[in-house]
């Protein structure tokens, strides 16, 4: 049985092979001291681990109020290239995720669960497939289906994922009024990140009080983080929310004195090196306009150039646009070009900075989804955080990164326009 106050929770008994159903039930034997699932979920204060941080119990209540067929979708797409946590979770404890999905299905009255994993990662697809197969002989609970959408940054966005299940295209949908119920056909759909489902699985076995033994009062529980950047090889680990960020970085042997750390994901923002004593939880990060997001910590060392790294990321994010909305389809590539001009420096660079600021204001909030908003947030944060590097570039002086040719933010290779797959 796993104890309340120590880690690991989600990675308990983790191994090089995923836990079988029997091992899973042995590791996570319930204590029996749990009340109604709904009450426990609400008392736990669990918020989504996919990036938005929306209270899970509120989502469940919203779906409970809907009538007709319902579905639960487990989002294991992991659109963030710097994140690897959902893949790792599904490769070590897939049954915990499926348990949580089953509990969510029972709470809202859904008869089918769709587990979505990107098809570009066949190893993880295999693990999930085997786990679903192991559960097949059970006669109770919802039926599980494995789906494999193509991997795209926006394919993990809720409305894009549901639209792919509904209409076979990973395109985000316009949602005019919040709260907006996503539907597959006519069925209301609850979409939750794989890690969120796993946490629901834990709460269902051990209760809200147990869950809240870790983390902070406002942001309880544990979270899986992916540390990349200035580290010898990228690490995925489970930490208690509220741990100071320096502690997290030290425990994995990342650069102890970085220039800045990117939090959230590529649509997130930077935390300066001086402020790394901040506890890793939403309420402590809020004054910096940051959040835990998808659990990404990308460490930028002092020898790296913030401008070039930002430009590479924005160029890729622009390429990953669904190209449905003009401000995103045209605006993001324009931001990438402006950043390239800033990197080149000179008088064009000065004009480019002004254009960047204006364009950010114009693009923000004018897409159907939050993709352009994220890029704008990232660009604004980069301009503020790397002001020194930018000055150096504009003056044509060598910047911090001129001493190193290595890139620290992983950016997948750009595919040819005609080869992008959305179906």
């Amino acid at each position: 049985m796993i104890s309340a106050r120590t880690l690991p929770r989600l990675f308990a008994n983790a191994n090089s092979r995923p836990l079988s159903l029997a091992d899973h039930e042995e590791t996570f034997r319930p204590t029996g001291a749990v009340g109604s699932l709904l009450e426990e979920l609400e008392a736990s204060g669990l918020v989504g681990r996919g990036g938005a941080g929306f209270p899970t119990s509120r989502k469940v209540q919203l779906l409970r109020a809907q009538r007709g067929h319902k579905y639960v979708v487990v989002n294991g797409m992991e659109g963030e290239p710097a994140a690897h946590k959902d893949f790792r979770l599904l490769s070590t404890n897939p049954h915990l995720v499926l348990d949580g999905a089953e509990m969510l299905a029972s709470m809202i009255g859904a008869s089918r669960v769709a587990v979505c994993v990107a098809r570009d990662n066949p190893a993880v697809v295999n693990h999930v497939e085997r786990a679903i197969h192991e559960r097949a002989p059970r006669n109770h609970g919802p039926s599980f289906d494995l789906h494999t959408p193509p991997w795209r940054y926006v394919a993990g966005e809720e409305s894009a994922l549901v639209h792919w299940l509904d209409d076979n295209e990973s395109l985000p949908q316009f949602r005019p009024g919040r709260p907006h119920i996503l539907r597959i056909g006519r069925g209301a759909t609850l979409v939750d990140n794989a890690e969120t489902c796993a946490n629901v699985g834990l709460i269902g076995r051990y209760g809200a009080q147990w869950f809240r033994e870790l983390g902070t009062a406002e942001h309880p529980g544990s979270v899986i983080v992916s540390v990349t950047g200035a580290i010898d090889h990228p690490r995925v680990l489970e930490v208690s929310l509220g741990t100071p960020i320096t502690t997290i970085l030290q425990s994995v042997g990342a650069d102890p004195h970085p220039q800045a750390v990117l939090l959230g994901g590529y649509g997130g923002a930077w935390l300066r090196g001086e402020e790394l004593a901040t506890p890793y939880c939403n309420e402590a990060l809020a004054p910096f306009d940051l959040s835990v997001g998808a659990g990404v910590l990308a460490v930028l060392p002092r020898v790296a150039c913030g401008v070039t790294e930002t430009q590479r990321v924005v160029r890729w994010m622009a390429h990953e646009s669904a190209r449905q909305c003009g401000p995103c389809a045209f605006g993001l590539p324009a931001l990438a070009e402006d950043l390239a001009e800033v990197a080149r420096g000179g008088r064009d660079g000065v004009a480019a900075i002004k254009r960047l600021t204006d364009r950010c204001a114009v693009i923000d909030g004018r897409g159907a989804c939050r993709h352009p908003d994220g890029v704008v947030r990232f660009v604004r944060s980069s301009i503020a955080t790397f002001s020194e590097d930018i000055d150096n570039h504009l003056r044509g002086a060598p910047c911090a990164g001129s001493r190193s040719s290595q890139h620290y933010l992983t950016v997948p290779a750009l595919e040819k326009e005609s080869e992008l797959v959305w179906e």
């Binding site: 049985m1 796993i2 104890s3 690991p8 990675f11 308990a12 008994n13 983790a14 191994n15 090089s16 290239p81 710097a82 690897h84 893949f87 790792r88 070590t92 990107a118 098809r119 570009d120 990662n121 066949p122 190893a123 193509p150 991997w151 295209e169 395109l171 990349t228 090889h233 990228p234 995925v236 190209r323 449905q324 389809a329 992983t410 997948p412 326009e417 005609s418 080869e419 992008l420 797959v421 959305w422 179906e423």
Partner: protein, 217 residues
């Protein structure tokens, strides 16, 4: 059924036929101007759209007159059915059939535009593409039914209209908005690219397993 054998019905059919052809040429040309985002300085873009819409109504009126006079005229035996269902006319089966097909297509386009605010925009666009097909068929009908169009001014008009619309089609094709192919183009000919999925090689994450944790607790 009124059986009239005055030559004026026959003249009206031919005249309204030519006028309809000219009007629909203008409608298609204006539609191309709208699609290629012409205007905004002296003439507003919305004005081209409005003229396109208004002119299409006038063109449909002339088309209906053209059909009615053909039906009413008993000099040539074409009934009401022949205007909608092809190959049911005794007189000049093929050309009248083509006319019927063109009319059906134009009718579909027109009705879909009347209820444009009530139907999905995708459906409306899909039907609207068929206006090109309807126009092409109507030109063939105009040439084949041929009382005036085999020689002289009539033929010149048909050729001029065909040329104008061909140019418009080329310009429409060249000026089409740049978007990822297939996903936003709703023409019946559009289709998404078929590419075999490539496995994503995780660049940064080697497949090293996590350190084994002590069992039992």
């Amino acid at each position: 059924m009124i059986a009239l054998t005055t030559p004026y019905l026959w003249y009206t059919t031919r005249a309204t036929g030519i006028v309809t052809m000219l009007l629909f040429t203008a409608v298609v040309a204006l539609g191309t101007l709208v699609a290629n985002r012409v205007g905004g300085t002296t003439v507003g873009r919305f004005e081209f759209n409005e003229i396109h819409r208004s002119l299409s109504v006038i063109a449909m009126v002339f088309l209906v007159i053209h059909i009615l006079t053909t039906i009413l005229d008993s000099y040539v035996s074409t009934g009401v059915i022949s205007s909608i269902i092809p190959f049911t006319s005794a007189y000049k089966r093929l050309p009248v059939a083509l006319g019927a097909v063109a009319f059906d297509l134009f009718l579909a386009v027109w009705i879909s535009s009347l209820v444009k605010l009530r139907i999905k925009n995708r459906s409306w666009r899909f039907i609207h593409w068929f206006s090109w097909l309807g126009y092409a068929i109507s030109l063939v009908h105009a040439y084949m039914v041929g009382t005036d169009t085999h020689h002289g001014v009539g033929m010149l008009l048909v050729v001029a209209c065909a040329g104008a619309v061909a140019l418009a089609a080329l310009w429409r094709f060249l000026g089409r908005p740049t978007r990822a192919a297939g996903r936003t183009a709703l023409s019946p000919l559009a289709s998404p690219p078929v590419v075999a999925p490539r496995p994503r090689v995780p660049e940064a994450f080697p497949r090293t397993p996590p350190r084994p944790r002590p069992r039992g607790r």
